[in-house]
């Protein structure tokens, strides 16, 4: 009997040990991890380096005669623009994971993947990390090759600082999209935007001028950051010790944040949202205006918002136009006018003059004294100036194209003069 039981036990063991397995094999973006501690001590902190060739254009920020051009996920190019006729590519700040930037007084606020980092830039040549808020942003990762799916991600292994395309084997289904990485992926996926000046001039100021495609925006003592589907307010009243105690869910795909008159205007792929900030720590939606699916940079001046809708991007859509929206009542924004354009990208407004980068149709300048007829009051078209973004200062326009940064004297908009060009 013992033999029988023994034999049966052996057979049971053999039977149960022989298990078929099923798994998937595919060429994928396989994450390269750096553990959190190593990241915060190395890649995720600022390092001053000599100037580098600008390989890709990211968001741009201007303050105190310095132009900061983001090299997405890698760092910041520092351009000395004291003389707009001869800008100097001065230095480079290496900060892995950066996709957003603002400057308030001498402090530079950037993201380094999951962390908000405060950098004292009172001396451009000697930046110092003076504060860090860890794990305030959603776990995110750098852009990957869209030709391939993502391998499974394990956040417990640390920060994803890169990808390798290789054969990947897993018993799980590949991830079909960039889950939890809207914040970072969009920053590079969105090809254009606008840069706008809030009463800025070339000189000293408390805060700088941000590019429109940024999801970082300053308002009084608060920094607002669009992180995935959440708007996160950061209290900067203690500049080196920012705090974040709240977040507001935004259930749309937000592309741009724009602050104006204590309100936050959000350009989303399906419309424009308006939030009031009476409670700085808890912005509340007061108005919305829908539009068809499209990319929609937005600027606001007085009672009117100017929105360009563009096709041919990841935002899809079928419209190329300039919308003029009455926002005199923030709770009831109203579309007043629509003007057809060719392929509008960034736009900016200054002193009742509206600048629109209309793709291959060139830079178009409109008199916006009468907003409801702005499209009929085109002052000038410069077909040779093809850019995607623009910063409008008092007398200078900075335009960004695929191949470089161009600056123009706009004192006489009938005859703007090129001041300089910085080739990328």
């Amino acid at each position: 009997m013992k033999n029988v039981i023994g034999t049966l036990l052996v057979l049971v063991f053999v039977f149960t040990a022989c298990k078929d397995k099923q798994f998937q094999k595919y060429t994928a973006n396989v994450p390269v991890y750096t553990d959190f501690e190593t990241f915060r001590a190395g890649l995720g902190t600022v390092k001053y380096e000599s100037a580098k060739t600008i390989a890709q254009k990211g968001n741009i920020y201007f303050k105190d005669n310095y132009l900061f051009i983001l090299d997405n996920f890698e760092g910041i190019h520092i351009i000395d623009n004291t003389n707009p006729k001869a800008p100097i590519n001065k230095a480079y700040y290496a900060i892995t994971g950066i996709t957003g930037i603002v400057i308030k007084n001498q402090y530079l606020y950037v993201n380094a993947y999951t962390d908000l980092v405060v950098i004292d830039v009172s001396s451009i040549e000697n930046p110092k990390e003076s504060g860090r808020l860890e794990n305030v942003f959603e776990y995110a990762w750098p852009t990957h090759d869209p030709q391939y799916p993502l391998a499974n991600v394990d956040p417990s292994k640390g920060i994803i600082t890169g990808w390798e395309i290789e054969e990947y084997v897993t018993d799980k289904t590949p991830i079909g999209g960039c889950i939890n990485c809207t914040f970072l992926a969009d920053a590079t996926g969105f090809e254009s935007g606008f840069l706008y000046s809030n009463d800025m001039s070339v000189g000293s100021s408390s805060q700088g001028v941000s590019g429109s495609i940024t999801k970082f925006s300053l308002l009084n003592d608060y920094l607002y950051v669009m992180d995935g589907n959440n708007l996160k307010p950061f209290d900067l009243s203690s500049p080196t010790r920012p705090s974040n105690t709240n977040q507001v869910g935004i259930w749309r795909e937000v592309e741009t944040l724009f602050t104006y008159n204590d309100h936050i205007f959000m350009g989303t792929t399906t419309g424009m949202l308006i939030y009031e900030t009476g409670n700085r720590n808890e912005p509340t939606q007061v108005g919305v205006i829908q539009h068809a699916n499209a990319c929609d940079p937005v600027v606001v001046d007085g009672d009117y918002a100017y929105v360009t809708l563009r096709t041919g991007t990841a935002c899809s859509g079928q419209q190329n136009q300039l919308d003029v929206i009455d926002v005199s009542n923030y709770s009831q924004p109203e579309l007043k006018k629509t003007y057809s354009l060719k392929n509008p990208h960034g736009l900016g407004i200054k002193n009742n003059t509206l600048f629109v980068c209309d793709g291959s149709a060139g830079l178009k300048i409109y008199d916006a004294t009468e907003p409801l007829t702005v499209g009929d009051n085109k002052v000038k078209t410069y077909g040779s100036i093809q850019a995607t973004d623009i910063i409008v200062l008092e007398n200078i326009a900075m335009l960004i194209g695929d191949d470089g940064l161009y600056q123009y004297d706009i004192t006489d908009i009938q005859n703007i003069q090129k001041l300089s060009q910085l080739k990328f």
Binding site: C18, K25, Y26, P174
Partner: protein, 222 residues
Amino acid sequence: MKIYLLLFTWLFSGLVFAQMDLVKLKSGSEIRGFITEKTEEIVKIKTKDGSIWVFKQSEVSAIESFVPAVFEKGYFGTVSLGVLGGSDVSANFLILNGYRINAHWSAGLGIGIDQFYNNMYLPLFAEGRYNLLKKGTTPYVSLGFGYDLPFQMSERNKGGFFGQGLIGFQHELGNHFGIFSGVGFRYGQLQVDEWNWWGTDVTTKTIYEINRFDLRFGFIFR
């Protein structure tokens, strides 16, 4: 107990067949059977038909274990049926054309039918076998490897390589006919292309890793 006996008999069927003897006479004759008595003077041998032959030792030139032709050098063939079991169970059928290099070593190429996860495959394989004894009844060890070709060719079903090993017994039942049984392990990987990624060339390959025990019974022909 019946199950135990059945399994034992099935797996080690070769053991139930005793080894036959061969008596060689000085006259040149050879008698095959089972020796029933052997003294200094005589040798008694019982043949298959029940006859008992008695020879004087002076007539006998040698007494050996009988090795039938089916285990001699030369070409042979086998057919076998197997049960591949484990977390899933399937049957297979194999035909092998082999060459016996000597009483211990043989090798061959085979073809058959496999079935895994509702797909039929045509296994093409090579196998080597080692007989532990130079007798008509002997334990053996065999190793093989091959490729499972999808029975119904399609772009998605790619088939895959496999390897297998068996230990068991083989036994001659006649000069040109024998049986064998064995137990072993079969490992294989079958690939099915499942899904195109965003319309690009990147596909997700589903790999079925086959881990099965192999219960096998077959016939040997010469």
